[in-house]
């Protein structure tokens, strides 16, 4: 059969339009599933899926479609939501959620909590207040915490036993900076050529945040006040000294790898391979280390440089938020109630995925069972109570960029930490005062 030119053109136009329709319709608008955006490393993603599966089993009428974040979740969320395709449930990070809350992207969960007083009372009675307070911004509750993911130290038990050392089992009994340095020195081993065979201390967090955490453990604060801070603390003596001590571990005392040393092998791999005695990180590293061959590890507190007894972690909590534009608000709330409420938190505790945000879950047998190789479980259980929150401000991305820029030379050992007072502090102050 011969097809005329006109018929061909009409057919081509029709086929083209049909092909273009799904693309123009955008992604995600094709079904009624609840979309859940989160970030997880591969080991975490498995545990996360178990929580989602359990929710699906108990709520067969709500389908959950997961969206796994790339390396920059904030940018991804901004793009999704600005483009009108905001996921229904979003993972929220303590230092970045304020930027989304300020733009009206996140639903104020007080609306849902007010409608559900029994659940609200359950959270108030069983939750760690500091974790919930982290997600309050300008009077709104923008996420429900599902975990505490502050930093602590993982230590290699075999290496410590060999050296006859016993690390503290509680935050109150933390090492001093001097004791920590001695231990890191004792556990750093070099071969004859000078190359390091085993590091005393490695850091798997973001270096400039880690330096800040050492400063917090030197008696400093991140910002004043915690929410919508008006001034930075980067020029305070305690902050400067804490950052300098952290930088010196690599550059002066050579007990920790310098940035160049970590290009070819990550801190995580060094610890997992038994080539580091202490590794700083949060519970999100737990599964990776637990799955590593021949690695017998436990957890301990960070060192403390201040006169105050005991050490602190960072709150580092992540929570779950609901998009203000969600068409599945009720289903999303059911999901939040599950994940942040007693039932879901108990499941989380059993999976060993997180340190749950509810006291009942973190003190449950399931949590202890999931961490049966951990001797110093109090480090995890008491972590939230010994944590300092990061500042909550919608200007955090700018402060973050400034910290990266000005702490870089200090961490590479080419500028003293006192330089922060001249450069980082005034610029951060300017950003906080004139957003």
């Amino acid at each position: 059969m011969l097809v005329g030119r006109r018929a061909f053109l009409h057919a081509a136009t029709g086929i083209g339009a049909a092909l273009a329709m799904p693309a123009l319709g955008g992604c995600g608008g094709d079904d009624d599933a609840l979309t859940f955006f989160f970030q997880a490393n591969p080991a975490e993603a498995d545990g996360r899926q178990r929580v989602i599966d359990e929710f699906a089993r108990r709520n067969p009428d709500i389908r959950v479609r997961t969206l796994l974040s790339g390396p920059d979740p904030m940018q991804q969320m901004l793009t999704f939501c600005a483009g009108g395709k905001c996921p229904d449930v979003l993972m929220a990070w303590e230092q970045t959620y304020a930027g989304l809350a300020d733009r009206g992207v996140l639903l104020d969960l007080n609306i849902m909590l007010d409608r559900d007083p029994a659940f609200a009372a359950e959270l108030a009675a069983g939750g760690v207040a500091a974790l919930y307070d982290t997600f309050t911004f300008e009077g709104g509750q923008y996420a429900l915490p599902e975990q505490w993911s502050g930093n602590f130290l993982f230590f290699n038990k075999a290496l410590f036993d060999e050296a006859g050392l016993r690390p503290p089992g509680r935050w109150e009994d933390a090492w001093s900076f001097a004791e920590f340095l001695d231990i890191a020195r004792a556990l750093t081993e070099r071969v004859r050529s000078g190359e390091v065979r085993q590091w005393g201390f490695v850091d798997s967090w973001v270096p400039y945040y880690s330096a800040g955490l050492f400063a917090i453990n030197n008696g400093a604060e991140w910002a004043r006040p915690r929410t919508v801070p008006g001034r930075s603390v980067f020029s305070d003596d305690a902050f400067v000294e804490g950052v300098q001590f952290y930088a010196d571990l690599a550059n002066r005392y050579h007990v920790a790898p310098a940035p160049a040393d970590q290009q070819s092998i990550s801190a995580m791999d060094l610890f997992a391979q038994g080539r580091a005695a202490l590794a700083m990180g949060g519970h999100w590293r737990y599964r990776t280390f637990a799955d590593a061959d021949d690695l017998d590890f436990d957890v301990t507190a960070l060192p403390s440089g201040s006169a105050r007894r005991g050490a602190r972690s960072n709150i580092g909590t992540t929570g779950l938020a609901i998009s203000a534009a969600s068409r599945h608000r009720e289903q999303a709330w059911e999901f939040l109630k599950f994940a942040a409420g007693p039932v879901g938190q108990a499941v989380i505790a059993e999976t060993g995925l997180f340190v749950p945000a509810l006291r009942s879950a973190v003190r449950s047998t399931g949590f202890a069972e999931a961490h049966r190789d951990i001797g110093n479980l109090d480090i995890l259980i008491d972590g939230p109570a010994h944590s300092a929150p990061l500042p909550v401000t919608d200007q955090w991305p700018r402060i973050d960029a400034l910290m990266d820029r000005y702490m870089g030379p200090v961490l590479r050992g080419i500028a003293p930490a006192t330089s922060l007072a001249d450069r980082l502090a005034p610029e951060a102050e300017e950003v906080l005062r004139n957003p």
Partner: protein, 292 residues
């Protein structure tokens, strides 16, 4: 008949025109509009007039850093790209032995995406175990902190950019060289001109059009550079501000700080500068050809 043909032609080009309007003209116009507004991509758009441009030129310390880095990156890419491409194109034009293999290897970078390329180069630039430092080590040169030290980081991104730009520049220059009449070279040879003299006095003047095209395209590519720098040294243009160029500045303001108006203002300022450079280049090219 003519009317039917015209109608069919319009139907055929309509999808392309729609695509150009939706994906090119509209974003361009919208970004120009945004450059005079303040907008965080969610709240209401507020008119700020020339406020974004004033802030950029007078009170943003990162503007001078981005400008300096962009100029360094452009020169660091342009000069080696053009020099190496000229040599390579001249070599290929002479048809040396193994030209086929050489040509294939040379053009490989064109087939690889910038992101994949940058990821591979990250391994090459590793300070302790990278290929580059291992090779330098055999020559007795100590490890170079390629992506750790801000100055070396700029050298690193220039190296990658040169590697990526050479194939295209070579193709253009080679095509121009192949258009040079062979009898000119023969006459010059008879007059006793050596290879370098022939290259300087015959090849270069006769490929001037292609050369200036390569110059302009290389400058535009360098000023717009983003992907390889982002993958190699991160979204902050680090380490510190060692590789903080305009492409990174636009991205950071738009997608990290959510300041779409300001990011648009930066983009339009760059566009105006590039347009001025291109117009100047065309004017000089025309003037030179008229003088001849």
């Amino acid at each position: 008949m003519a009317r039917r043909q015209a109608r069919a032609a319009r139907l055929f080009i309509a999808p392309n025109l729609v695509a150009v309007a939706v994906f090119l003209v509209f974003p361009l116009g919208f970004s120009l509009y945004l450059s005079f507004q303040q907008w965080d991509m969610f709240g209401p758009i507020r008119f700020t007039g020339l406020g974004n441009f004033r802030r950029l030129l007078t009170s943003d310390p990162l503007f001078t850093i981005a400008l300096r880095n962009t100029i360094v990156f452009t020169l660091g890419t342009l000069i080696p790209t053009v020099s190496i491409s000229l040599v390579v194109a001249a070599t290929l034009n002479r048809g040396v032995r193994g030209t086929g293999f050489f040509r294939t290897v040379m053009f490989l970078p064109l087939a690889i995406s910038s992101v994949v390329m940058a990821v591979i180069w990250r391994f090459v630039f590793d300070t302790n175990n990278g290929l580059l430092n291992m090779m330098l080590g055999r020559l007795g040169i100590g490890p170079v902190p390629w992506l750790v030290d801000p100055r070396w980081a700029m050298v690193s991104v220039c190296l990658v950019s040169v590697w990526k730009s050479i194939p295209f520049a070579t193709i253009v220059l080679l095509a121009a060289m192949q258009g040079v009449p062979a009898d000119l070279y023969e006459a010059a040879k008879i007059d006793g001109a050596g290879a370098i003299r022939r290259f300087a006095s015959i090849t270069l003047p006769l490929i001037r059009g292609a050369l200036s095209f390569v110059f302009v395209i290389s400058i535009i590519d360098s000023v717009q550079a983003f992907d390889q720098i982002y993958v190699l040294t991160g979204g902050h243009g680090g380490p510190e501000t060692g590789t903080y160029v305009f492409g990174i500045m636009i991205f950071q303001n738009a997608f990290a700080f959510g300041d779409a108006g300001y990011a648009s203002a930066i983009a339009w300022l760059i566009f105006v500068v590039l347009l001025a450079l291109t117009v100047a280049q065309l004017w000089f090219a025309r003037k030179n050809s008229a003088d001849r």
